[in-house]
Symmetry: C2
Subunit: 536 residues, 2 copies
Amino acid sequence: MKIALAKINQTAGKIKDNLNKISDYIFNAEKEKCDLTVFPEFAVCGGYCGDLLLNKDFIEENICASNEIIKKSNIPVICGTITKDDKEGLLNSVSLFNKEFSAVVSAKHTLNDSAFNDEKYFKKKTVVDAVKIANKNIMFVVTDSCETVNENIATIFKETKIKPDMVFILGCSPYYYGKAEEYKSLMKNLAVQTKTDFGFLNMLGGNDGYVFDGLAIYVDKNGNFKLTEQSFEEKLIIFDTDGQNIEDKQNDKNKEMYDVLVLGLKDYMRKNNFKKCVLGISGGIDSALVAAVAADAVGAENVTGVLMPSKYTSKESTDCSLELCKNLNIQTKTIPINDIYDVYIKILTPSFEGKGQDLTEENLQARIRSNILMALSNKFGYFVLCTGNKSEDAVGYSTLYGDATGGYAPISDLLKKEVYELSRYRNTISKVIPEFIITRPPTAELRENQKDSDSLPEYDILDGILTKILDKQMTYSQIIESGVKEEVLNKVWKLLSVSEYKRRQSPVGTKVSKTAFLRDITLPMSNGYIWKKIQK
Amino acid sequence: MKIALAKINQTAGKIKDNLNKISDYIFNAEKEKCDLTVFPEFAVCGGYCGDLLLNKDFIEENICASNEIIKKSNIPVICGTITKDDKEGLLNSVSLFNKEFSAVVSAKHTLNDSAFNDEKYFKKKTVVDAVKIANKNIMFVVTDSCETVNENIATIFKETKIKPDMVFILGCSPYYYGKAEEYKSLMKNLAVQTKTDFGFLNMLGGNDGYVFDGLAIYVDKNGNFKLTEQSFEEKLIIFDTDGQNIEDKQNDKNKEMYDVLVLGLKDYMRKNNFKKCVLGISGGIDSALVAAVAADAVGAENVTGVLMPSKYTSKESTDCSLELCKNLNIQTKTIPINDIYDVYIKILTPSFEGKGQDLTEENLQARIRSNILMALSNKFGYFVLCTGNKSEDAVGYSTLYGDATGGYAPISDLLKKEVYELSRYRNTISKVIPEFIITRPPTAELRENQKDSDSLPEYDILDGILTKILDKQMTYSQIIESGVKEEVLNKVWKLLSVSEYKRRQSPVGTKVSKTAFLRDITLPMSNGYIWKKIQK
């Protein structure tokens, strides 16, 4: 059986364009004489639409657009749609289109996905009808996380009388590192356990900080992979269920994550109609990596790096910033902040009532820099990039309305150690980030001789603790037993719990882990919990 | 039967303090010789704990704390707890404590509450055991929205063999205007339909912008109310199920909403250990109302109003601002922004490449003001209040990192017309807001002779459209038929859909409606949908 999988990158709500793309892909699949063309979940409406799904006109337009597919479908087409019926309400459906008819063949059954509020919009549907295509009984299912796939499939096999020859899963689920391997292993297990072929196709593209990975898998009932495709490019994948295995190269972790960062930013800007972007270049590793990602995402000619030196900015910082911009071939501006800073201090001093210097003056510098970037954004329509990383966000080591500002934060889900890893990786393609930026000790340069390690544990310790808290969900005792000092753990927990309010006001960024802030991790802002060793 | 309802205000995660309060209330109920004391959902852990619920130590501490209640319970105590068993996992439970034992008598059954991700943390439990107290069979249920109450109760009556004499519902659900009436009517209908007494007790207090209303209701099987208590104060309510109806005065809408705003801000500051707050006073209605709410929440002596005039600030604005501060008896500072603004322009002009004045210069003024407030916050530990309202947030009529900044936005869920209504209401208590502020046309004063209506429809039109879109979910055609001009609706929709990114970075504020941004309404940030009349 020859199947065409349409790995497409749709925009949420852009129904007409999304429909046109679907038509083009069907046309090409037909030319290749495929038996079936498959599109992912939400192929017509794009994902995620949020409360657009409460808009009756939007639903109506989606249904009209889906009906248009009938006319195009000279071969069977399977497509993730939104459907509505008086009895069942709104469904996150799979529709079959074939010449002169269309039918809802299934709809999402397990609506327990906390990130996207499925239950707010959709009703559940448990019955799945098998469809006969090219003499095979095929069941199509919508689902979007490893946990729900298992539950869904179990239910289907329990409730079904005719055992299918093939189960095909449509998804629109976000990337995190490690997901492809999890899904491959899951599909293989399901195939072998149920002695059924299993296929999977995910949506592609960046939307609001989620990157859909476009993962496509096909594994036969004996557990042999026939297709594993995990590049981040739109394409029509054509394969034979009885053919040889088509596998693209196993991605290197750093390459994979870097490509996701590039796609996430590129799509956010494109889908919001921004062409050019601007960011502050400090001479540190974070802004260096973001500049590289930006140049790769939208072209160096569309990126402006702004140096905003103060009296605390070292000559080395300025030199390596200029070298970075030159290597990347991006535009550079230099706008010193001293004069602005001095006037603020003059105006504010009477109100400071004789109090000495403290964090106030440091934060002020960061806020002046943000104002300058926002002024350039307002004047020229540049999109402002935030350079914050996950380690900083975790402990609130950033200035609210200062460096923590921008339309998008490309590396906000990277731990500091990952920032270094991806910077080194990027340099293997072409050496753009000066070695000095990679090897110097991290500093915010907001006062004389400042180092990040004055306020925080060294980043390798901090990142280790964050991994133990966020990813491994270890207990206090387990973390202490792993060799972390109590006073250090207490400090990190305190900082993590008091900086939730900052994270809630942060720009959205690309999710690359299972524990992205604003996405997967939510602490109370008024948090009275003091974590400590439990006395038993 | 004499029942004590403990209407308490707990802090999320603050287990020890929460437990102490529970002990005190039990002690007092015992003194009054009550047959039963009832505490709301999440009484021990506080609500909402978010990902604290993933922390194993936190769960363990909660369970230990709950066990402490046993020792205190000389009379039967019903309390919302978190429990765990190996088979069922984590449960959002109701526990009975009585002298020497405790037992889980039920747990939340319908976990479809989209706002709080119940499904991420808890397992479902469908079986509810009736408990015999004072010779009555009582069923206790945890639930937190009108929709789920109905579903829950239906399931309970279906699955239960012994018909209960009383069903008592424990909640920890957020206030919105109109909720008390909805719940009263729901309880009455359930009581009459099932010929069973119904009780309800909700948590009290502000947490992260949600205000739990502490609503307490008891209605007998004939539909007679025995208790309706909807004040926003902690108290031990004691009543007799066979006694006379105890009803507090029906709240006036404006009084009720104003009290909620005061409690929301007061609790946010208290639970985050802030004593003093600061805000910019512009001479407009929004900052006037926020200043009044702040003075009522934390005391006038803890509020500082800062006037930050520019060359566009009229003498009238300054005069009425000073009058407001004097009436409220709050501290006042005046910090002019002209000098700072002029330096920015001097420094930025070469980068502006000869482009004329536009929004850039207006936004810059708002951002300078934010920097000043944040500097005072950093220097003195003041909590910064944001003065934005819902009408502005809806259409993005605010400056990101300018006026849209602060730790809390007390009136962010009020439409502009409600800002006026509550201001007039506040003046009926004592005349603090100068009449000129209420009657002048709204202006941001960011350029010569600016009025809000230069950029936006008049607020009464705008608010009307927003209500039709957000609350009534009307179709495009229905809104046009109601008398709105197409170009006006198109403009409002455009502004609403392109300003989602701003709302996502806004400070949290008190929810008072069913359609609060950041809470109940989420649009895609990359939103390709153009709303228009559907061609059929």
